[in-house]
Assembly symmetry: C2
Homo-oligomer: 187 residues x 2
Amino acid sequence: MSVDQIIDSIFLIPNESKALLKENFVEVRYPKGHILLRADRIEKNIYFIQKGIARAYADVEDTEITFWFGREGDAILSMRSYVENKEGYDNIELLEECALYELKTANLNKLFLEDLHIANWGRRFAEQELIKTEERLLSRQVRTASERYKQLIKDHPDLIQRVPLVHIASYLGITRNSLSRIRAEIM
Amino acid sequence: MSVDQIIDSIFLIPNESKALLKENFVEVRYPKGHILLRADRIEKNIYFIQKGIARAYADVEDTEITFWFGREGDAILSMRSYVENKEGYDNIELLEECALYELKTANLNKLFLEDLHIANWGRRFAEQELIKTEERLLSRQVRTASERYKQLIKDHPDLIQRVPLVHIASYLGITRNSLSRIRAEIM
DNA sequence: CGATACATTTACCAAATGGTAAAAAACTAC
DNA sequence: GTAGTTTTTTACCATTTGGTAAATGTATCG
């Protein structure tokens, strides 16, 4: 996933604006297992995944609850930090060695107030994250864990290969036991 | 909730921009039980609640699943229609007689591309909806139905008075039976 | 390759939840 | 106020899920 692909997939903007925006994408690399964002901090950067896979989890009474997976092209951010400049609930762990684009929130915010096209790009970015988040919420509310597991296999078959099942069970809101049962049923 | 309060609570913008935006708020009234938005349509308007209360529900195999409640100050919109101009999953039912502000999405989109301040207002609007949606998702993932019910009483005590318990049970992801059990336990 | 650690499956029982139906309570409309 | 409708509670049993622990399978590293 190139910088251009990422920017264009969100909203098409004129070349001058795009150049201003592109300047802020800095490529960084981290190893598998690296904790990129922490729940107890106000995070100053957001990221886009060029290559690799990550998860977000919340610490709840001595267990981790995974509530998001991200892969190539996805944005990594603590929404709370990004939007309200407060501590969030999300820890981000890289599940593979990752190549990322790093952007400073402060720089982005400055551009938003200076450039109409970039402001609209930022609006579209938030709107698209909103749609994705609502979809996750709906799927959780409307479908059973078993249905959502099947959906996951269908939509992202590689994810089951690349991610430990413990995290997938947690993501589905069930125990590893129950996930094993579901997997056994299907075959 | 006045138009000014609603606009200002999202993002402060200069008076000229605000005047342009305000022109688009049209007050409308509908009776209790009115279906404001439908899942099978591309909705062309969004609303803010001046007075009253509403719920969003999805039709799933001959049952309705409530996944959102809105009250004074909240925005009512089919995210899918607003963001992607596609049919959404949400039906909106007014649970009381409501006074609403209606805005045409097309007019808003035009303003977004013409006025930097309004574009940023639209960005903040999406960002704030994003935070709220993520919070609902997290709460669902992390807390039990019982905990979430207690939280609901604490945060919005009036809601339990104003909304039939069937909808609250559905919102919490449990049956009316289980909600009754929870309520019985608490006392 | 082998030893160790970690992840996953299976089995068992306990606890929580759903479904149906009937009783009680609350709300509507005349 | 009363009859009728709708909503909520309660009780029962069937089903699903969780928790613990042991067994199997898979990775990792010297």
